[in-house]
């Protein structure tokens, strides 16, 4: 294992200290690993909080700022934060109008966030939860969750955080913000392909073996193996197959406009991500969809995994309007 770390144990704390140095406009608590806006809680605004294991940067801390999250809480690598720390994030974000927590659908995250919500309710903080579950690799062809653990939460998290953050910034109430999050999640699907496995620092070796001429189809964002391994082929063919699975599960909508994210999983050159976007645009056009906005880059990573995830969000007028409002975070910034 080759990593720029001091030790696996100190990795998250060291990185958060660096993040604090890079972003003096964020408040970072070294004890709870909560990253919050310096002006949180923002008076009169519904709080928007997310969190999860480390290793997905810039998710979630990179999305703290005006127009997105009020606070994010980071666990150990690929491990949900604990309820007491999530509670610290909820408290940091609550101005009295309640807090929406955005949770990726994994057993650990949903359990810990549910416990934290109970603790917060005990303190008189109103909490609503949106569980993000967009990964088409873990759904069935008709779009319903295929196994009892349900679809994993992946790329759609960025979309839900952006739209909920935008709506909260406009002064919407907790129910409206939660409903918007659920709506965006329901209209979004993702699929991911890995070229290499990633290495969890505390483990010290790659999560699975993949020969040079094979890819892993349908991976998640925790370095676990995917649905199957396949031969490596030209990007056009891989993207076509990936989007076939994704579009099969994308719920129908009245609007043909979409927001598309081509996301590097941590060790993929931007050059290749643009190749993927080019192929994806062609496939989506053929499917009768319009690409209204794109994100190309590293937004939801899996440590040093090479590979790509594709996320397609059916976006109506409301969603597009919120998407375009100003946002000012370390990893997503426009209009300000």
């Amino acid at each position: 294992m080759k990593k720029l770390i001091n030790s696996a144990e100190s990795l998250t704390a060291d990185a958060l200290a660096g993040m604090a140095a890079a972003h003096p406009d964020l408040r970072i608590d070294p004890r709870t690993h909560v990253i919050s806006r310096a002006d949180a809680p923002v008076p009169g605004k519904v709080g928007v909080v997310s969190g999860g294991g480390a290793g997905h940067e810039p998710l979630h801390g990179g999305y703290v700022g005006r127009g997105m999250l009020d606070a994010a809480v980071v666990g150990e690598v690929f491990t949900s934060p604990t309820p007491d720390r999530i509670l610290a994030a909820l408290r940091a974000a609550d101005s009295g109008r309640g807090v929406l927590q955005i949770v990726k659908n994994y057993t650990g995250d949903t359990l810990n966030f549910a416990m934290a919500a109970e603790l917060a309710e005990d303190l008189g903080i109103a909490v609503r939860t949106v569980v993000v579950d967009d990964d088409a690799a873990t759904g069935t062809p008709d779009g319903t969750p295929g196994r009892s653990a349900g679809r994993r939460g992946t790329g759609a998290t960025v979309f839900v955080e952006r739209v909920c953050g935008a709506l909260a910034e406009q002064g919407a109430d907790l129910t409206a913000v939660a409903d918007a999050g659920a709506r965006v999640n329901a209209a979004t699907r993702s699929i991911a392909i890995a070229l290499t496995a990633c290495t969890v620092p505390a483990v010290g070796r790659a999560g699975f073996e993949l020969p040079d001429d094979r890819i892993e189809f349908g991976v998640g964002i925790h370095g676990e193996p995917g649905l199957r391994t396949e031969p490596l082929r030209p990007a056009s063919e891989i993207v076509q197959d990936a989007l076939a699975v994704l579009l099969d599960q994308l719920p129908p909508g009245d609007d043909d406009r979409t927001i598309v994210m081509v996301n590097g999983l941590g060790a993929t050159p931007l050059l290749e991500l643009y190749v993927v976007l080019n192929e994806a645009s062609a496939v989506l056009r053929k499917a009768g969809l319009t690409v209204a906005h794109t994100l190309v880059g590293n937004y939801v990573t899996a440590l040093d995994m090479a590979g790509v995830s594709l996320t397609v969000c059916r976006a109506d007028e409301r969603t597009l309007g919120l998407w375009n409002t100003p946002v000012n975070t370390p990893a997503l910034r426009w209009g300000c």
Binding site: E76, S80, A137, S148
Partner: protein, 212 residues
């Protein structure tokens, strides 16, 4: 179940998990993300640190177990923290509140409460390839042994054996809960890491009983 035995149990469990950390990680690498051993070790070493000194006089077994459970919830992370921590908390609360006068019978009730806590939080069913496939048979074996006239030691040994059998039984199962479930059929042929940790906890209980 007194506080001295409880302390011995938890310290035994911490030792076993420390010793088996790499094997747990190995199991998790096959069907999860490979951090189970590290997370459990972090949690149980925090529990052990809290028990370095014998507890103050008057501390009940139930209080020790609830504290250990709370420590696990706030140190393990992932799903294992709430699930294992919640199980210890449920056990501890039962020991402290139930009206059962027979101490061993009370422990049986407590183990059932731990099992139910896992089932409720994880929404797991038997055969889902989870820690419930160990807690279920182990709690049952403990209760059956008592009904057959066994003492606490023999009952704890029977529970540990049922737990080991439960881990082995997870190998041919297809995971339907937790991260391993995303692998579908590829999860078959591997023992469940959470179940393996659960078996160590029952192993530690039997050893603590026998050393008394």
């Amino acid at each position: 179940m007194d506080s001295e035995l409880t302390r011995a149990w938890l310290l035994n469990a911490a030792l076993l998990i420390e010793r088996e950390k790499d094997r747990l990680t190995q199991l998790d690498l096959a069907i999860g993300d490979g951090d189970h051993g590290v997370n459990m070790q972090r949690g149980f070493s925090a529990v052990a640190a809290g028990l370095a000194e014998p507890p103050p006089a008057g501390t009940t077994a139930g209080q020790l177990l609830v504290t250990a459970g709370t420590t696990l919830v706030s140190t393990v992370g992932g799903a294992s923290g709430p699930l294992f921590g919640g199980a210890f908390r449920a056990l501890g609360k039962t020991l402290d509140t139930a009206a059962e006068p027979d101490d061993t019978r009370l422990l049986a009730d407590g183990l059932n409460a731990a099992r139910d806590s896992i089932q409720r939080m994880g929404a797991a069913q038997p055969g889902d390839k989870t820690m419930y496939d160990v807690y279920g048979p182990a709690a049952e074996a403990f209760g059956h042994a008592l009904c057959d006239g066994a003492g606490p030691r023999a009952a704890a040994r029977a529970a540990a054996e049922a737990a080991d059998e439960g881990v082995r039984a997870t190998e041919p199962m297809q995971a339907r809960r937790g991260r391993a479930s995303y692998l579908g059929l590829r999860s078959v042929g591997h023992q469940d890491p959470g179940a393996a940790s659960a078996a160590l906890i029952f192993q530690a209980l039997a050893t603590a009983m026998e050393a008394q």
